[in-house]
C-alpha cells in the first residue's frame, strides 16, 4: 500500500515560463547547440525549483524509509529462514527495497499529472508557442524534476540504507556504468510513458481516471510493488511483452548484478528499444493532439 501523500512532492508543475537564453547562433550546428542550451536551461530551472522544497523532501524521505522498512520486513518474511528464493537472497531483497523506494520520485511512480493539468487549465496553448519543441520542453522540465528527485530522495535513501543495513552494490566499473545507463533509460522510458498517458487529456475531459489506471499498472508490472521474480510465471511472461519491467525491474537487476554479459546487453537494448518506441509514439500522438487543438480551437 502506498500513501497518496507523496504525490504532491512527486510532480510539482512548473507553470511560469523560464527565462530563455537568447539563441541567435545561425546554422544547423548553431541551432542544435542553441536547443541543447535551452534544454539545459529549462532543466536547470526545474531542478532549482524542486530543490527549494527541502523540508518537504526531508519529510518524504522519512516516509520512504519507513515504508521501506515495512516492505523489506514482508519480503524477508517470505524467505522464512531460507538463504534465497527465486534467485534473490536477503541482502538482495533489502537492496531491492532501498532501490525501489529510492526510485519513487525519480520515476514519479505514484503518478504524474503536470501535462494534464496544463491542458485542463488551458495553459497548453502558450506552451505550444514556445520557441522550442513542446516535447523537448516537457522532457527538459521532467529531467530537472527527476534529477532533483534523485538528489534529494533517491541518493540519500540508498545511502541511509547502506549505513544501517547490509546492501549489495555493483562491484565493477562496468557494473556501475551499466546501472547508470539503465537508470537513465528508465527515466526516459518512464517520462515517455507518462507523457503518453497525459496526452489523453487532449481527447477526454476525464483523463484523470485513465491516468489512475495507467499508473497503477506500472506499480504491479514494473516490479515496484513486488519483485517480478516472485510473481507467477504467466504474469511475468505477460509483463515481458510490455515496457513496464524496464522501468524498475531491469534497473534493480542491473544494480544487483543479476544480469551479466549477453543477458545484460540484451536487457539494455530492449530497454532502449522500448524507450525509442514510446518517444516516437508520444511525438506522433502529440502531432495529432496539436492538430485537434487547432481545428477545435482549444
Amino acid at each position: 500500500m502506498v500513501p497518496p501523500l507523496t504525490l504532491e512532492y512527486a510532480g510539482r508543475s512548473m507553470t511560469s515560463p523560464p527565462a530563455l537564453p537568447s539563441a541567435s547562433a545561425p546554422g544547423a550546428r548553431g541551432e542544435l547547440l542553441a536547443s541543447a542550451r535551452l534544454f539545459v536551461e529549462v532543466a536547470r530551472l526545474a531542478l532549482r525549483r524542486q530543490l527549494a522544497y527541502r523540508a518537504a523532501a526531508f519529510a518524504g524521505l522519512v516516509t520512504n524509509l519507513f515504508f521501506g522498512l515495512l516492505r523489506s520486513s514482508v519480503l524477508l518474511a517470505l524467505l522464512a529462514g531460507q538463504d534465497s528464493a527465486y534467485g534473490l537472497g536477503a541482502r538482495d531483497l533489502v537492496t531491492y527495497t532501498a532501490l525501489t523506494q529510492g526510485l519513487i520520485v525519480y520515476l514519479s511512480l505514484f503518478g504524474w499529472w503536470d501535462l494534464m493539468q496544463n491542458v485542463y487549465r488551458g495553459d497548453v496553448a502558450t506552451d505550444l508557442m514556445r520557441p522550442m519543441s513542446f516535447y523537448g520542453f516537457w522532457l527538459a522540465q521532467d529531467a530537472g524534476r527527476a534529477l532533483a528527485g534523485l538528489l534529494m530522495r533517491g541518493l540519500p535513501l540508498v545511502l541511509a540504507y547502506a549505513l544501517f543495513f547490509p546492501i549489495v552494490t555493483p562491484t565493477s566499473p562496468t557494473g556501475w556504468a551499466a546501472f547508470l545507463v539503465s537508470l537513465l533509460l528508465a527515466g526516459l522510458l518512464s517520462f515517455a510513458y507518462r507523457f503518453l498517458v497525459n496526452l489523453a487529456a487532449f481527447w477526454s475531459p476525464d483523463a484523470r481516471g485513465i491516468g489512475r489506471f495507467a499508473f497503477t499498472i506500472v506499480g504491479l508490472l514494473s516490479g515496484f510493488l513486488m519483485p517480478l521474480a516472485f510473481l507467477p510465471g504467466w504474469l511475468r511472461e505477460a509483463a515481458g511483452f510490455t515496457p513496464f519491467p524496464h522501468m524498475v525491474g531491469t534497473v534493480v537487476d542491473v544494480w544487483l548484478g543479476k544480469l551479466q554479459g549477453a543477458a545484460l546487453a540484451r536487457a539494455l537494448c530492449e530497454q532502449a528499444a522500448w524507450t525509442v518506441a514510446l518517444v516516437l509514439l508520444g511525438r506522433w500522438l502529440l502531432g495529432r493532439a496539436r492538430r485537434r487543438l487547432e481545428i477545435g480551437g482549444g
Binding site: 515495512l70 520486513s73 524477508l76 522464512a80 476525464d206 489512475r212 499498472i217 506499480g219 510493488l225 510473481l231
Partner: protein
Amino acid sequence: MLAHLGLYRRLVLAQVRSQLRYRASFVMDVLAVMVTSGAEFAAVGLVFASFDRVGGWRLGEVAFLYGLVELSFGLMDLVFGGFDPDFMGAAVRRGELDKLLLRPAPLALQVFGSEFQLRRLGKVLVGTLIFALAVSLAGIDWTPAKVLYLPLVVLGMIMFFGGLFVIGGTITFWTVESVQAMNVLTYGGLTLMSYPMTVYTASLRRLFTYVVPAAFLNYYPALYFLGRPDPFGLPGFAPFLAPLVGAFTLAAAFVFWRFGLRHYGSTGT
C-alpha cells in the same frame, strides 16, 4: 442530539447528491480507487503462488488481516474525510473553517458532514472482497461470540484511524508542514496492520504494540478469529482490546481537537 443527527444526515445527503450529479466521472473515480486498492493486494496475493507462507501465515490468513483493515480504513475515510489532514489543511488555508464557525451548529458535526466522498466505498468494497476471500480460504470456526465481536473490531479500527485523522487535522491549526509526519502514522499504520506481527523485527513489533497500540486492533483480534496461538505470550484478553484502544484514541483525539480550537480562536491562522 436527534436534531444534530438529522442535520448530519442532510449534510451528507447533500454531498452524495452533488457527487452523483456527474455520474460518469463518479463511476470512473470508484473504479480507479478499486483498481489501485485491488492491485496492491494482487501484488501480495500473487506472491502466494510462489510462497506458502508469510511469517508463518497462509494466504487466507493474511487476507483476513489485509481485508479487515482495508475495509475499516475505507469506512473511516468515508466518515472522517473532513478531518483528513490534507483536506483540513486546505480548508483552514482557504478560510472554510471560518465559514463553518459562522454557522450555529457544532463544528465537529459540520466537519463530519463536509467531505463525505462516496467513491471511498471502492476501497471498502475491495476490502470486503478480500475479507470474503479470507473467510472462504481460512476455514474459520465461527461461534456466536466471534460473529458479535467482528463488527466491534471494525468499529475499533474506524475509531483508531479516525482519531489519527482528527489529531492530524488539528495539527493543521498550527502548521501544515508537519502533516506528513502524521500521514506516516496513518498510512504506515494501515500497511503495518495488513501483515502479521511475526513479520516484523522485535523492536518494530514492540513499538507498535506498546507505544502505538496498533497490534491490538487487527493482529490480536485476528489470532482469536483464526484460532491461532499468540507467539508473544500476551495475556488472554489481548484480542479483545481493539474497541477500547479505538475508543481511547478517538476520545484523546477530540480532547486535542478542543485544545486546538481554543488555539485557533486566539490566533486564527
